[in-house]
């Protein structure tokens, strides 16, 4: 094989793509769908992961103050809490502040208005632990104090999130495998059609002494082009969806944050193009092994 032979090989690949119209379209579509779903799964996983990590790192214990004690006793209670082993700092959150925090988290609805002007929240202390392993022991100790009504911290919610990413991972991998097989099969069928359509040319090439490599390259290239075009379509769709999802999430649930588009787009593109390329090449290799021997 000589490098400049690609001058003859590349146009052949594009001619075949045109020749196969509908099969070309179907292959590109399946590859796009496969990679689109892959990318979406991956984005969900990394976003949930990063949210879970974030939550894990700033789990705070909320100690709700018994409503029967008066606010003069609050400082004493705060000192008692600060004295507990593993407590890093203690912050007082009044019920008014609490409700406005909540309002912010749910996208600026007027909670007090909805609740008819009443604020059912008690005053509370927000306590952070020195590290996440002592959170539960701190919570227990705080609960024993007089004047503390209930204690709440993110028990189990972080674990739930991690379980969720695990499910997404498994579903994603299954989907990717199934769709990947479909995509590779379609590419293989497309290439087989090309080989059939060009069998006469292939024969002639053989009889004038073309090398196997020269005969096979256009078909390999055809598969790779299918894969890469499919990948680009998938990436464009994914990034558009992600952008709108980002805007939607930011407007509705502010305690969930999405990774910046600018930090992930290159990864998505690189991954998709590589995967598309591999699927396309794999599809054509399957076809070629079967039907293009000298």
């Amino acid at each position: 094989m000589r490098l400049y032979s690609f001058r003859y090989i590349i146009p052949q690949a594009f001619k075949s793509l045109k020749l196969n119209g509908w099969m070309t379209f179907a292959s590109i579509l399946t590859i796009s769908i496969t990679l689109f779903l892959c990318a979406i799964c991956w984005l969900l996983v990394i976003n949930i992961d990063s949210n879970a990590q974030q939550m894990e790192s700033d789990v705070r214990v909320s100690a709700y103050i018994d409503q029967t004690i008066s606010s003069e006793d609050y400082p004493a209670l705060q000192e008692q809490i600060e004295a507990i082993d593993g407590v890093d700092n203690v912050e007082f959150v009044s019920k008014d502040q609490g409700i406005s925090d909540l309002e912010k988290r749910f996208g600026g609805i007027d909670l007090k208005e909805t609740l008819g002007g009443n604020n059912p929240l008690p005053d509370r202390f927000s306590i952070s632990a020195t590290n996440k392993d002592v959170v539960s022991s701190v919570a227990k100790a705080v609960k024993k104090l007089d004047g503390v009504d209930t204690v709440r911290y993110g028990e189990g919610s972080v674990e739930k999130l991690f379980a969720l990413t695990d499910t997404f991972r498994k579903v994603g991998i299954t989907l990717i495998i199934l769709l990947g097989i479909a995509a590779v099969t379609l590419v293989a069928m497309t290439i087989r059609l090309t080989v059939f359509a060009r069998r006469k040319e292939i024969m002639v090439m053989k009889w004038v002494g073309a090398t196997n490599a020269f005969i096979r390259w256009p078909f390999l290239l055809e598969g790779v082009i299918l894969g890469v075009i499919g990948a680009f379509i998938a990436v464009v769709l994914v990034l558009i969806c992600y952008k709108y999802a980002g805007v939607y999430v930011a407007n509705t649930i502010s305690f969930v944050y999405l990774l910046e588009l600018s930090t992930i787009w290159l990864k998505v593109l690189g991954f998709a193009v590589l995967a598309g390329l591999i699927m396309g090449a794999f599809g054509s290799i399957i076809s070629l092994l079967k039907c293009l021997d000298v």
């Binding site: 094989m1 000589r2 400049y4 032979s5 001058r7 003859y8 006469k200 040319e201 024969m203 002639v204 090439m205 053989k206 009889w207 004038v208 002494g209 073309a210 090398t211 196997n212 020269f214 000298v294």
Partner: protein
């Protein structure tokens, strides 16, 4: 010996014995006709000699090498040195005359600059000068045949196999084609031409192999005998 067949038999899958115990030698630089009635096995023999098919028993040697045992690389080299004009032309219908001939050079990876020069030259040689851009399907049968010849000789093969190259040609044009073959032969190419055109065989006074019912029944130098 350039081409040698030793006790070659060919039985097709359907059980038909197309060739029976063929022994044959063709020296480098010879100009040989292969004749025989339709169905005698001419095309079959040619197909065996350029390894489109393998002999059922017996051996075909080219330059002393058994062609059934060549490595892939050697097969490619053999084919680059062997030109074939197929009985059914095997042209690419959708393409122009130029593309059909250029195809043989592209396939062996010659540069575009070379192709641009050599294709018109060879077309001139076969009497199709200036017809480069016509679609091959718009040509007459004889013209198509000459495109096939041009494609077979453009790589200056050492051996040229031609299966009925004059089948569709009028006497004048086949005369032209024979002159071309003689020229090619003078330039050093060994030719084996299957034909049942007695006229031509008689006039050319060359070595003639005759097949009958799959057997080699005649090997005469200097013409045709009835």
């Amino acid at each position: 010996m350039l081409i040698k067949a030793i006790n070659v038999c060919k039985t097709y899958k359907n059980g038909l014995e197309a060739l029976k115990n063929i022994d044959l030698e063709i020296d480098s630089g010879e100009f040989v006709f292969l004749t025989g009635a339709s169905g005698a096995g001419k095309s079959t023999l040619i197909r065996l000699l350029f390894r489109e098919e393998l002999a059922t028993t017996g051996q075909v040697l080219i330059s002393g090498r058994n062609i059934a045992r060549l490595s892939q690389r050697e097969t490619v080299r053999l084919r680059r040195n062997t030109g074939v004009v197929f009985q059914d032309f095997r042209l690419m219908e959708r393409n122009t005359v130029f593309d059909n001939v250029a195809f043989a050079l592209k396939a062996v990876e010659r540069s575009w600059e070379e192709i641009k020069v050599r294709v018109p030259q060879v077309l001139e040689k076969v009497g199709l000068g200036g017809r480069e851009n016509e679609n091959v399907m718009h040509l007459s049968g004889g013209e198509q045949q000459r495109v096939a010849v041009a494609r077979a000789i453009i790589n200056h093969p050492l051996i040229l196999f031609a299966d009925e190259p004059t089948g569709d040609l009028d006497p004048n044009t086949s005369e032209e084609l024979m002159k071309l073959f003689e020229q090619i032969n003078k330039d050093g190419t060994t030719l084996l031409i299957a034909t049942h055109d007695k006229e031509i065989v008689n006039r050319m006074r060359r070595r003639v192999l005759t097949l009958h019912g799959g057997k080699l029944v005649g090997d005469i130098v200097g013409g045709w005998q009835l």
